[in-house]
Symmetry: C2
Amino acid sequence: MHILVTNDDGVNAPGLLALAQAFRSLGAVTVLAPDRNWSASGHVKTMHRPLRVWETQLSDGTPALTTDGAPSDCVAIAILGMVEQPIDLVISGINPNANVGHDVTYSGTVTAAMEAAISGLPGFAYSIDSPSGHQGTTDYSTAAEVAVSVAGQVLSKPMPEKFILNVNIPYGNLEDIRGIAVTRQGLRIYRDALVEREDPRMRKYYWIGGDTPTGIAEPGTDFWALANHYVSVTPLTLDLTDSLMLPTIEGWNLKL
Amino acid sequence: MHILVTNDDGVNAPGLLALAQAFRSLGAVTVLAPDRNWSASGHVKTMHRPLRVWETQLSDGTPALTTDGAPSDCVAIAILGMVEQPIDLVISGINPNANVGHDVTYSGTVTAAMEAAISGLPGFAYSIDSPSGHQGTTDYSTAAEVAVSVAGQVLSKPMPEKFILNVNIPYGNLEDIRGIAVTRQGLRIYRDALVEREDPRMRKYYWIGGDTPTGIAEPGTDFWALANHYVSVTPLTLDLTDSLMLPTIEGWNLKL
């Protein structure tokens, strides 16, 4: 099996290294990841400028490719032929923060998995729920172990085409994790605020600031799973249609 | 009613001007749009750098604000207080090309509407299906008229919270449009190819190129509506959970 590994934190991120190392137990690993951090970058297809691709290596000496494109660009150009074919699985991460609730619409980690699915390949996005205000080095070892275990089990099942899994893993030791919960996307509560500053030339500029977002830990959701020390596994779709609203809007009988 | 107008093509785009002018018949219009083109930029939340905001004006003299942020940033900072409150409706466009099928996951036009919904406001994204290879000036007048008509009718209904409408309008004259079809997101067929070039210093670089994507015009989809000269109105959701897959994955009985 040939596994493409990417992320949105950049090719030098420790979460990528942990993922690349761990997935060698499942197959041949190729790394193609952005040369910088693309967090909260969304689903990008870079067509207005060309992309550069360089050879590099991870800190353990693993050969890797890096590009000035976005995470989804990495997946697109890899599948279009930049790396040896065929690719059987695309994995993305490990993101140092959970991608839960509406985060998934912004997440570069998740959009890499979405880009895989658009090309008909399974795409798995991995994130850990590291505690807010967490200091020091983040430990990805438990998450990497869980990531491989989940992938190994899922790959043995009859997967549908365009299969996207968003996997969020509690931070900590394996023995503190209670199990795996299949979840739906929960409701994020953002606490953003507009923060105004002035530069040395007295011109205003603005940060999107505010408090750390929270979420509603309704049973069955990704938030609930993490709050209860379960690994959260959410299947995602590329179809954004609000199917439940279709009959309502048809009933509105809109005219030109 | 106070209407925020943005887009992903930049504040000087003619599609934005057409939208801003047309929606004056529904309420007070405030324009806050990016200072450059953000096409295929995805759902962005810019938090790693501050945003600048300038006063500018549209080519008809309408005062406007512009920023170096993304379309979704425009909506976020407007709602967070950059423009006069309250805002009742966010509209985005008019995009010069259709946003159908998986395009919606990349579309800056659509993510602006998504950002509105995250803040609890209705967000309507408008695009026209201008013919591939279309030359010369694009005419937005029909689309702007349809956009206002759709918005006016929808706003008179009991809308749910977090309501996102993706509206695609056939290109041409009003009398050639057959009506309004409530649709689901169709299946895009991308025909991308990796195009290799060499710079004057003999170093390779890459374009995501290839042919114009097509789509499967299955009845009831956005593609079908446009192919049959209907305005396509698709309700979108922020919940990307693949609900149909949940029972299947639960049946897999995944273990740590």
